[in-house]
C-alpha cells in the first residue's frame, strides 16, 4: 500500500501511509485507538475507498470497488465486530461468501460444506460444529468461524483486527500458534493490535501508526516493548497505577446477594451472584465478553430486573428493575454502550446531561430549560468536554467526549456506588488516562466502584480486588498478580484442579 490517504469529515484517518507485508510473515499493525489501523485495513479489504494512493498485490496494482473484489483477490478480514449472520449455521455462513469451486452452483447443499468445515477445523486447530447456529456459539468460537471462512476462501492475505479482545489468555496463545501455521503456508497475516506484548509474541515485523501516519516499521526481534510504546504514543506516559490502600474494616456499601437475572433471549445470564464492595474500594470484574457482565451491570443499576436475590445499598434493599430507585439510592452507571444507552443520540448535550435527573430539576411538569443550559455550560467547563456548545447533538461528539458527558452526568449528586462497564473501550490514550483518573477520584472520595472490563491491563492497573465472571457466575481471584490464574478462571477453570472444562 503506497501513499494511502483517507479523509473523513473533520479528521484525516490515514495520511500518506506506506505499508507492505510479505508472504509467509506475520506483520503487526500497532497503534493506539484512533491511530488509523482499522481504516487502513478497511481500505485494503475494499470496504472503504482511499482518497489518494494505490494498492499493489504481488507487484500488480489493484483497485477494489467493493469487498467482493478484495475477497476474490484473496484478501480476507476477521473483524472486531463479527460479520456473521447470527441466524445462519456455520456452514451457511461459509457458503455465503463462497464463489469459487463447489459452492458456485445455483443450488446449494450445505452438507457438502460441512465436511469441509470439519476438515479445515481439524487442520488448523479451529474445531467448530458446522450445524451450530452462530448465536449459539461463544464469542471465541465465532471468531474461529470467521477465520475458517477466510481459509475456506483460500485467502492469500488474512487480516485480523484486535482478535484477542474476546479471548482468554490461553485462547490467545492457541490463536497465535494457528496464525503462525497459516503464515508458514506462505500466506500473509496482518495482525492489528494496540497491545504490545501480543505484538511481541506473534509477529515477525511491526509497523507503528500514530495519528494516521506511519512512524516506523521494524523487525520485532529488534524492538523492545518500551521502544514500541514510545513509538506508538510519541512520549512517555505514566500508566495509571493503583496504590495499595488500607480500607480497614469498613462495611460494604454495595451488597449483592444471590442475584439472578435473565438475558435478552430469556435464559439466565446472571446466576446466583454474590458480591460486596466497600466504600472507596475498586472491585474489578474480568472476563471475556458475553459471560453476563453487561447483564450484571444492568441488574445492579436497575435497568434489568433481577429474578431472584437482593441488592442493597447501605443496607437498604432496592426494588427490582427500578432504575429511578437505584439512582436515588446513589447508584451511578456508566454503560458500555455509550452512544445507544448512555446517551440519547439525537438529543442535545444539555438534555443528555439531565437524562437521569430531569425529574428533580424540573418545576412540576415543566422543564427548566435555562437552568439546564447553564448547568451544561458548567459541566463543559469542569470536565473539559470539547464541544461547540450545549446544544450540539450528542451523536456528533467523539467517543472520548461522549464518555466525559456520561461521567459528568453520573458524577453528580451523591454517588455512593459507581458501576463502570468497559469505560475506556475505543478511546485513545489520553482519554483513557482521563477516565482512569476519574475512577480513582471517585474511589478516593469513598465511592464503591465496580469496574467491569475486558481489558486485562486496565483490570490489573486499577483493582483492589479482582473477580472473574464466567457463564454468569463469579469467582474471586486469589493471587491478583497472577495472569495465569485470571486466565484460567476466565476460561471457567479453577486453578489447582486437574480436570479441564
Amino acid at each position: 500500500m503506497r501513499e494511502i490517504t483517507k479523509r473523513f469529515p473533520g479528521v484525516v484517518a490515514n495520511d500518506g501511509v506506506d505499508f507492505e507485508a510479505a508472504g509467509g510473515e506475520v506483520h503487526a499493525l500497532l497503534g493506539e485507538n484512533g491511530a488509523g489501523k482499522t481504516t487502513l485495513s478497511h481500505i485494503l479489504t475494499g470496504l472503504y475507498h482511499a482518497d489518494e494512493g494505490q494498492i499493489f498485490l504481488s507487484g500488480e496494482p489493484v483497485a477494489f470497488q467493493s469487498p467482493r473484489d478484495a475477497i476474490d483477490a484473496g484478501v480476507c478480514m476477521v473483524h472486531q465486530h463479527f460479520r456473521l449472520v447470527e441466524r445462519f449455521t456455520v456452514a451457511e455462513n461459509l457458503v455465503l461468501g463462497d464463489r469459487r469451486g463447489a459452492g458456485r452452483r445455483f443450488r446449494i447443499d450445505p452438507r457438502a460444506v460441512e465436511s469441509q468445515v470439519r476438515e479445515l477445523g481439524r487442520r488448523y486447530h479451529l474445531p467448530v460444529d458446522p450445524h451450530a447456529r452462530i448465536w449459539q456459539l461463544s464469542v471465541g468460537e465465532q471468531q474461529r468461524v470467521e477465520i475458517l471462512n477466510a481459509l475456506y476462501q483460500d485467502a492469500r492475505v488474512l487480516i485480523l483486527d484486535e482478535p484477542t479482545a474476546v479471548l482468554t489468555p490461553e485462547e490467545s496463545e492457541t490463536l497465535f500458534t494457528t496464525l503462525r501455521e497459516i503464515a508458514a503456508e506462505g500466506r500473509t497475516v496482518i495482525f492489528i493490535s494496540h497491545k504490545l506484548h501480543e505484538v511481541k509474541a506473534v509477529s515477525d515485523r511491526v509497523t507503528v501508526l500514530r495519528a494516521g501516519k506511519v512512524i516506523a516499521t521494524v523487525r520485532t526481534t529488534d524492538a523492545t516493548p518500551q521502544s514500541l510504546a514510545s513509538l506508538m504514543i510519541g512520549h512517555d506516559v505514566e500508566a495509571t497505577q493503583r496504590t495499595a490502600r488500607d480500607l480497614g474494616g469498613e462495611g460494604a456499601v454495595l451488597e449483592v446477594r444471590d442475584v439472578w437475572a435473565d438475558g435478552d433471549r430469556g435464559a439466565p445470564a446472571v446466576k446466583g451472584i454474590s458480591l460486596a464492595v466497600r466504600a472507596g474500594e475498586i472491585v474489578a470484574v474480568a472476563g471475556v465478553a458475553g459471560n453476563g457482565q453487561r447483564e450484571l451491570a444492568e441488574t445492579i443499576a436497575g435497568v434489568r430486573p433481577s429474578t431472584k436475590g437482593a441488592i442493597r445499598v447501605d443496607g437498604r434493599l432496592l426494588k427490582r428493575g427500578d432504575v429511578r430507585a437505584a439512582f436515588d439510592a446513589g447508584i451511578r452507571y456508566v454503560p458500555e454502550d455509550r452512544l445507544g444507552t448512555g446517551v440519547s443520540p439525537s438529543l442535545s448535550l444539555a438534555m443528555n446531561l439531565e437524562l437521569r435527573s430531569y425529574r428533580e430539576s424540573s418545576l412540576g411538569p415543566f422543564l427548566r430549560l435555562r437552568r439546564m443550559r447553564a448547568n451544561a455550560e458548567k459541566a463543559i467547563e469542569e470536565f473539559d468536554i470539547r464541544a461547540p456548545g450545549p446544544d450540539v447533538q450528542a451523536a456528533n461528539l467523539s467517543g472520548g467526549n461522549l464518555q466525559k458527558v456520561v461521567i459528568a452526568r453520573e458524577f453528580s449528586g451523591e454517588m455512593k456506588v459507581l458501576i463502570a462497564a468497559s469505560p475506556t473501550r475505543g478511546l485513545d490514550v489520553s482519554a483513557v488516562a482521563t477516565v482512569h483518573s476519574y475512577l480513582l477520584q471517585a474511589a478516593g472520595r469513598g465511592t464503591a466502584v465496580l469496574l467491569l472490563s475486558e481489558d486485562l491491563d486496565e483490570i490489573l492497573a486499577l483493582n483492589d480486588r479482582i473477580v472473574v465472571m464466567y457463564e454468569g457466575e463469579l469467582s474471586e481471584v486469589v493471587d491478583r498478580e497472577s495472569i495465569e490464574e485470571i486466565g484460567l478462571r476466565m476460561a471457567g477453570e479453577t486453578p489447582g484442579s486437574s480436570d479441564s472444562a
Binding site: D51, P335, G342, S344, L347, E354
Partner: protein
C-alpha cells in the same frame, strides 16, 4: 466520477423549510406531467384548483370544512409519530370520537342556542372516545409488544363498520327514526340546537365562518407544542423515540409512556371527530360513502410528515392541503380527474421524504483520478 453521500454535521435551518416547500413545487410539476399524459391541460387545471380552494366566493369556508378535521388528524399523527409510535388509526379514532361526541350532544343537548356546557361535554366525550380506541393498539403494543401500525390500521376498518352499523343497520340511539325519510334512507339523528358548535363569521368572500373546531385545533397545536418542548412528558417522549435503551436507562416508564402518547394522539383525533359532528354534520354520519370515504386520517399523516411533526406547521399545512382537497371535491367531474388530489398528495410526500435526505446528508461529486475534489456540489433539491 463518483457520487458520494456524506453525513452533515449540522442541519442547516433553511433546509427545514425549503424541503417541504420544494416538495410541493416538485409534486405539482410531476402531476402536471401526468395530466398532460392523460390529456388534460395542467395550467388551467391548476388555475381552477387554486380558484376553487381559496379565491372563489365561499371557498375559504369550504376549505376550512376540510382543513379543520385535517388539522386534527395531522396533530394526532404528529403527536405519535414523533415518538416513533406509528398511530395509523387516527381515522378510526376520529369515528369513535364522532360517535361519543354525538352521543353527548344528543343526550345533553336541548333547545336554545349553543351551550358552552354541552359543547364542553362533547369535547370531552369525543376526546375520550378517540383516546379509548387508540388505547387498544396502545395496550397491545405496551403489554404484548404487538406492532401498532397494523393493529391501529385494522381497527380503522372495524371503526368504520361500527359507524355504518349504528346508522344503517340498527335502530340505535344515533339514528333518526322519526319522519318520513327515516325508513327510506337512514340518517343520523340531528343534534339539538344547543349542541351545534358556533363559528366566527368574517365579512370576507361574502361571509366566511371560521368553525369553533378550527380554534380548538389551534389550541391543541399549542398544547401539543408546549407538551413536547417544555415538559417532562415531552422530554421522556423524545428520549423514547430516540433510543429505547437510553429511555430505559433514564428511568422512563416505557409502558406508561406508550399508553400516554397513544391516548394523547387518540384524544386529538377524537376531538376531530366531535368537531365533525358539532361543526359540520350536526348528526352522526354513518354513510360509507360519506365521512368514511374521504380518508382524513391518512391525509393527516401526509400533513404531519410534511410539517416534520411540528404542531404549528401541521396546522398551516392542513390549511393548504385542505384547500387542495376542497378544490378536488368541488371540481370533480368529467373535466377534472378524480383521484388527482391523492396523486398530488402522494407525490408531495414522496418528494418530502426524498428531500429529507438532503438535509441530513450532502451529495458530493468527485473525480476519482485526480486529487482535486469538486467543491461540495449538492444535487439540487428536485425542483427542476
Amino acid at each position: 466520477m463518483r457520487i458520494s453521500v456524506e453525513q452533515r454535521l449540522r442541519r442547516p435551518r433553511w433546509l427545514t423549510v425549503a424541503v417541504p416547500f420544494g416538495s410541493v413545487v416538485f409534486a405539482f410539476l410531476v402531476a402536471a406531467v401526468v395530466l398532460v399524459a392523460t390529456g388534460h391541460d395542467p395550467v388551467s387545471t391548476y388555475h381552477q384548483l387554486f380558484d376553487a380552494a381559496f379565491l372563489e366566493k365561499q371557498s375559504i369556508d369550504q376549505t376550512l370544512i376540510v382543513a379543520t378535521p385535517l388539522a386534527f388528524m395531522g396533530l394526532a399523527a404528529a403527536a405519535a409519530f414523533r415518538m416513533k409510535l406509528y398511530n395509523i388509526g387516527a381515522e378510526g379514532q376520529m369515528y369513535l370520537g364522532a360517535i361519543t361526541g354525538a352521543a353527548a350532544g344528543l343526550y345533553l343537548g336541548g333547545r336554545g342556542g349553543p351551550s358552552a356546557f354541552v359543547i364542553a361535554a362533547m369535547v370531552v366525550a369525543g376526546a375520550a372516545g378517540g383516546a379509548g380506541w387508540a388505547l387498544i393498539p396502545g395496550v397491545l403494543r405496551a403489554f404484548f409488544r404487538t406492532n401498532e401500525i397494523l393493529t391501529s390500521l385494522l381497527l380503522n376498518y372495524v371503526a368504520g363498520l361500527i359507524l355504518t352499523y349504528l346508522i344503517f343497520e340498527s335502530e340505535s340511539y344515533w339514528r333518526q327514526t322519526k319522519g318520513f325519510n327515516a325508513t327510506v334512507f337512514p340518517t343520523g339523528k340531528p343534534l339539538p340546537h344547543s349542541a351545534v358548535w358556533p363559528g366566527w363569521t368574517l365579512h370576507v368572500q361574502g361571509g366566511t365562518t371560521i368553525p369553533l373546531g378550527a380554534f380548538f385545533a389551534l389550541l391543541a397545536a399549542a398544547v401539543l407544542w408546549l407538551l413536547y418542548k417544555r415538559t417532562r412528558f415531552g422530554f421522556e417522549a423524545q428520549v423514547l423515540g430516540d433510543s429505547q435503551r437510553a429511555a430505559r436507562y433514564a428511568g422512563v416508564r416505557m409502558r406508561r409512556k406508550i399508553l400516554a402518547v397513544m391516548a394523547v394522539s387518540g384524544a386529538i383525533a377524537g376531538l376531530g371527530g366531535a368537531s365533525q359532528v358539532g361543526d359540520f354534520s350536526h348528526a352522526l354520519d354513518g354513510d360509507p360513502n360519506g365521512l368514511q370515504k374521504i380518508g382524513y386520517g391518512y391525509t393527516g399523516i401526509v400533513v404531519a410528515a410534511l410539517g416534520r411533526y411540528n404542531p404549528f406547521a401541521a396546522v398551516l399545512i392542513a390549511f393548504l392541503l385542505g384547500g387542495l382537497e376542497n378544490a378536488g371535491n368541488t371540481l370533480q367531474g368529467p373535466s377534472f380527474p378524480a383521484g388527482l388530489v391523492g396523486v398530488i398528495q402522494g407525490i408531495i410526500l414522496f418528494s418530502a421524504l426524498g428531500g429529507e435526505i438532503l438535509s441530513r446528508h450532502r451529495v458530493r461529486i468527485t473525480r476519482k483520478s485526480t486529487h482535486v475534489t469538486a467543491a461540495p456540489a449538492r444535487a439540487p433539491e428536485p425542483a427542476a
